[in-house]
Symmetry: C2
Subunit: 371 residues, 2 copies
């Protein structure tokens, strides 16, 4: 096996395929990258950690057919540190030689046939086309709200909901719900759930993928899903189980509505949370009075009072929150102003954009006592 | 006690004084910052961790005399997160109120008289004036070579050597020696040793100090030294003990001299060290033959060969090094080309600039065996 390729192309490809390399697997070969120079003179690279498999195919030159598995970390480190010039890779008797200008490495290769058989991933099926930037944004706006508790099953995932006129992503961990919507025409209504951790890897892969690729194709199959971004294909396992009917959780109406600057609210809560300690659920209190939202918080070390101008419709209200849950939501929002809907101090707060419903967040309150 | 001050001025001052706040002290009050509004209407802040004491005096307005100690971390976090506007600090009945626009904090103050008495640090004595940038560079070029082993006493420090015509900084940990020299006229020859860890804090304080301050004054006293940078004064304990006579270690002459690109050498050693494992002292081998320096290294995972063009005077040589010790030296050097002097494979290597002697590094070799 042999090929030549520019150092920069190979480095970029390795950055992407390395994302499926595991250090936890019981199969040592999965710490490696399967590399295959094919009949058509292209280099195919595959990595897998059971949950996610990444395949990338790149153009290389002066090829000789063959395959090998290389240690992912060592091989990536070597390629990344080579000068920006042409790299020659040659495999002979299980030994992988890397040459670039005045550098020559010879490292131990692993037998390619020990790598679990990986089908060539096809993207020739029907799927949903996303703009890359849109899918990245939808993942960022929802994944933080998924449960990080591995025992929570389907709640560790993000629901991808294909409706006839939109695609919705939703995540819920019992304390908050995040929904991101995008108008899109789909042929078939369908729901799948994908691990939020893996969706965050997809987010990174989308960030690292060639800027020339502007679209991502999502193909839903029986047990898995495929994201195809140009010459990169990612197959991932779907999570089993019924996702919470999140629409039933969203409040139908509200009797208090405020409009507030997202920046002011974020900064005030960040300051207030300096005096809201972990042990106390990061408790901060909102007092909504006419057009002033007062946020207070206290600990043994002191107390803080923050005032923010708002415009309000409806009654006054006192309600408590875990500062972290509110901040997570505010950080996921890019809008300068937001609407917040309340009903009572024991009912969740709904956060929406000034117009439309491109996102919806629901935050559970913390019960507050007398003082 | 009361004063007003811009948030940005107060934040910068807190960044500097926080550097002497310890979390290890047995005296809880030393986790605090002593703040005193003085007769002259200035705010004096003091922190100390026994080894280093920092005092900073800043101009404030609308003052009322008094003093208090605040929790360093909490107070700094609060001030840093306030909006960029005027901040009012007021102390009443042991409670410290912080006001800024629509934010109001009230935190617990600690009694100022529990803070260890700290003399007002005078900079009205004779001392050595450094350009700030020069002192920073001299610290950076030497501190990495000091021992990090606390049991090594004076070797954990940097020697500051005042000669009639120059100031030299030197550090040595038994494996390498670093010397940085600056021509400077001094009235009195004198040597002191200061902990390298504290010199690194001085480096940070110099980086954080106002850009208007271009000079640093070093005053040497009996048991301690003072660095004065404008309104910031740092007192630190001197290390006891006799520093190694480093001049005796520097080789008088050499029979091999090479000139090499620092960048090429750094990159080649970084690549070679990918295959030189910790357990093996990061061993890399230099083979000097005519005008080629070949660097090799190997581990169970493979081997590497790097070739670099050099110009050489003297014989051929094979010599081994710990890659880390050579890289530390190369990273401290800004020159594009360097001179390396050798005598034999068991004698140390001397690194110098092409001209002058503004720095000298000595690196001990690692004994190499047959293959």
């Amino acid at each position: 096996m042999k090929f030549k390729c520019s150092q920069i192309t190979l480095t970029k490809a390795l950055n992407i395929v390395s994302k499926a390399v595991t250090n936890r697997s019981t199969l040592p070969i999965l710490k490696g990258i399967f590399m295959e120079v094919r009949e058509d003179g292209k280099l195919r690279m595959v990595t897998s950690d059971h949950e996610i498999t990444i395949e990338e195919t790149i153009d290389v030159s002066e090829t000789e057919k063959g395959s090998v598995v290389v240690q992912a970390k060592l091989f990536s480190d070597i390629i990344r540190k080579l000068p920006n010039a042409e790299v020659t890779i040659e495999v002979e008797n299980g030994s992988v030689t890397v040459r670039c200008l005045n550098s020559q490495f010879s490292i131990v290769g692993l037998p390619a046939d020990e790598f679990p058989a990986v089908e060539i991933i096809s993207d020739q099926q029907d799927g949903i086309l996303f703009e890359k930037s849109v899918l990245k944004e939808m993942i960022r706006k929802t994944s933080f709200a998924a449960s990080v508790d591995e025992s929570k099953g389907v709640l560790t995932g993000i629901l991808i909901e294909l409706l006839s006129d939109s695609v919705n992503l939703a995540a819920i961990d019992g304390y908050r719900l995040a929904v991101s919507r995008k108008a899109m025409v789909n042929l078939e209504e369908k729901n799948v759930v994908i691990s939020a951790k893996i969706m965050n890897e997809i987010h990174k892969i989308l960030s690292d993928a060639s800027e020339e690729e502007e679209t991502v194709k999502l193909i839903l199959r029986d047990k898995n899903a495929v994201f195809a971004i140009g010459n990169v294909k990612v197959v991932l396992r779907l999570l089993d189980g019924e996702f919470i009917k999140y629409r039933d959780v969203l409040p139908a109406d509200s009797n208090i509505k405020i409009k507030v600057s997202k920046g002011d609210l974020t900064e005030s809560i960040e300051r207030a949370s300096l005096l809201s300690k972990e042990g106390k659920n990061n408790l901060i209190k909102f007092a909504i009075r006419d057009n002033i939202l007062t946020i207070t918080s206290k600990s043994e070390e002191g107390n803080v009072k923050e005032e923010i101008l708002i415009s309000k419709e409806g009654e006054d209200l006192d309600i408590g929150f875990n500062a972290k849950y509110v901040l997570d939501v505010l950080k996921a929002i890019d809008d300068e102003e937001i609407l917040m809907y309340f009903n009572a101090s024991i009912k969740p707060c709904l956060v929406e954009p000034l117009e439309g419903n491109s996102f919806e967040y629901l935050i559970l309150p913390v019960r507050i006592t007398g003082n």
